[in-house]
Amino acid sequence: METLVEVLEKQSELNEAVQPRLISISIAGKRYAVPEGLTILKALEYAGYRLVRGVGCRGGFCGACATVYRVADDYRLKIGLACQTMIEENMYLTQIPFYPAQKATYDLRALRPAGDVFIRFYPEILRCLQCNTCRKVCPQDLDVMRYIAAAQRGEVDRVADLSFDCLQCGLCASRCPAEIAHYHVAQLGRRLYGRYRQPLAAHLSRRLAEITEGQFDDELSRLQRMSRQELESLYAQREIEPEETTPAKKDED
């Protein structure tokens, strides 16, 4: 095991080579010197934090690492995902990995994709003040206020489309003066869209019927019993469906 002095020496050599300098940031009110060019997540760890809350996928998909920060000489609060946002000199930051929000429970099979479905489960959406804060804090740049407006009008398709990239990080809910849990409203919209607004795939229904009739059983049993050699030669003779090169069609809406 290396000693602390050796590690620090090696680090400063390294710093000269690839990471030119340490910068000062403030984590929950305490100062730390960390190499520039890190994400907030990596800077927290570099500073010695062994994270349990506020981290998950480390790749911008799970929404666990919501972070609020500001920089020196600026009163404005900014937000970002810790795993996706780079640190800046004199950044003051804290993570908000959990924010209480109420989710309605429902039986999707008993719902219809129209009318007052959103208002029924989330009446608080009518309290929206149109302050646009939710949009400003969304790390995915979603037009959150617009999908809430669409929800007020029962426009399932728009809610689903506008909210599709939502990570359910909760930042919008943390700042909303009307105490709306936007991401739960959006979830309801997307499920209604997927279940009722998009038709079930007809080719899938046909295939399911064929499977139930046992159409593939014999062929599968034959494949299951084949020797490696037989499988190899069959595999080598596979005909490969050409790639589709004509432009893909437009989205439904």
């Binding site: 998950g56 429970t105 039986d107 599709f164 997927g194 899938l204």
Partner: protein
Amino acid sequence: MPYPECMHASLLAVEATRARRLKETMPRMSLAAKQQVLESFHPDYRAESFRPLAVGPNRGDRVPHELADLLEARSRIDPAMFDVTRIDYDTDVLILGGGGAGTAAALTAAEQGVRVLLATKLRWGDSNTIMAQGGIQAADKENDSPAQHYLDLVGGGGFVNIPELARALVTDAPAIIRWLEELGVMFDKEPDGTMRTVHGGGTSRRRMHSCRDYTGMEIMRVLRDEARNRGIQVLEFSPAVELLLDESGQCAGAILCDLETEEFFVVRARSTIIATGGMGRLHVQGFPTTNHYGATADGIVLAYRAGARLVFMDTVQYHPTGVAYPEQILGQLVTEKVRGLGAQLLNVEGEQFVNELETRDLVSAAIIRECTQRNRGVVTPTGMLGVWLDTPMIDIKRGPGTTARALPAMVRQYKRYGIDITSEPILVYPTQHYQNGGILINERAETSIPGLYVAGEASGGVHGRNRLMGNSLLDILVFGRRAGQTAARAALQTRLGALTLRHVEQYHHALAATGSLNGLIAPMILPDYTSPASKIRRQGGIPIG
């Protein structure tokens, strides 16, 4: 241009060859040629990176050192001191892991009317499932069939997949897609409901279903929402640290650790399902990884100590296209869908060197060959090597706007670092991605231990020695559902005896007797990414909290 000076000449070469490459396709390799490239360049063939296990059902089988270290470590629980009679939770089905496999199992078990408890390491949904972008396979188009899917599956897996598992996977696939449709998953469809499907590496038919490039996230969100609607009991921040057996040797629950209070909880369960996912965070052979923070092979460690058999643990999947530049997102995934949509792989001279839709193991090996033996990789300012993935080809081939519509997550990711993937190629290198093997199961998701079931990435056999894209999201749902069903039915008939940790004691003895007990503690639960200096400052003291 956001790329540094030293990479400019190569970027120009990429642009110069584009018009010609539009008309060119690299031929696929013969099986013999493929084998030769794999043996020379795939990390699985580096003998010095593996060692035989000293004890347990797989004694003598080679596994990566990083995994062997954990399988030769001590438990977090001292079996002599721990009181297993203090039961905190009593349930019919205990599910370990809140990713796709665990949540599908929970929904299915709950449908059978039994009591279900799901315990997971971090937030429910923090998982590899939520990170999956590309898609999910199912043979549901006219020109396709479960048999065709079977052939692709076993060909990709090196013809060693366990036939019963392979058959279950391809046969259940269409029903899984229908289940998801009915739960309200937003698939990419034509207005009439026809699935918009594309190729993935190693597929002979276009059978990849997707939800833009957030396929796993969309599936995870919907399953979790449904499980919340059903009121399934969930314990977050409560990883399992050991399995419990009863006197007769059947699995009888697990010990959970509350990560906040550091208390240990005893769960007695008639059936236990391991759905803890993979092992990317072991960083096998020093590779970066695409996996989530908690992918530390915990389920493998728990099951192996209890006496379950592992298969194919000597093979790891490296995703050919991990980010090689910029440094901040090193190792993160560039989805295979990018290649499915038509982006080619190019060396420093802007020339193709492998058909980009070959299987992952081969594409990875070919990239490593290009960068090492042939010396035609692109070097970044920090000395990393990579090859180009020519993303602008997508819009050129399929029309402007295709990239933005099909890959919004990727466009956003690179934009943060000033790179516009619709007009500039990106730099990639292989990254540790998937645990091909795992705990051996049968087609009912049973292990050799009564009462213990496994589903998802933690299990092994269905993918053989190499998994194809889109077959894992499928696998976790097929076997998650099957595990939930089997476990719930079995629970109704199971009678448990007194709980014991004797298996842990015996495992410790066996390790000590062979001189292989190391100083480590397993399962790892979370990796330690603090700086070396901070690790040293923690040494020699006892933590307060």
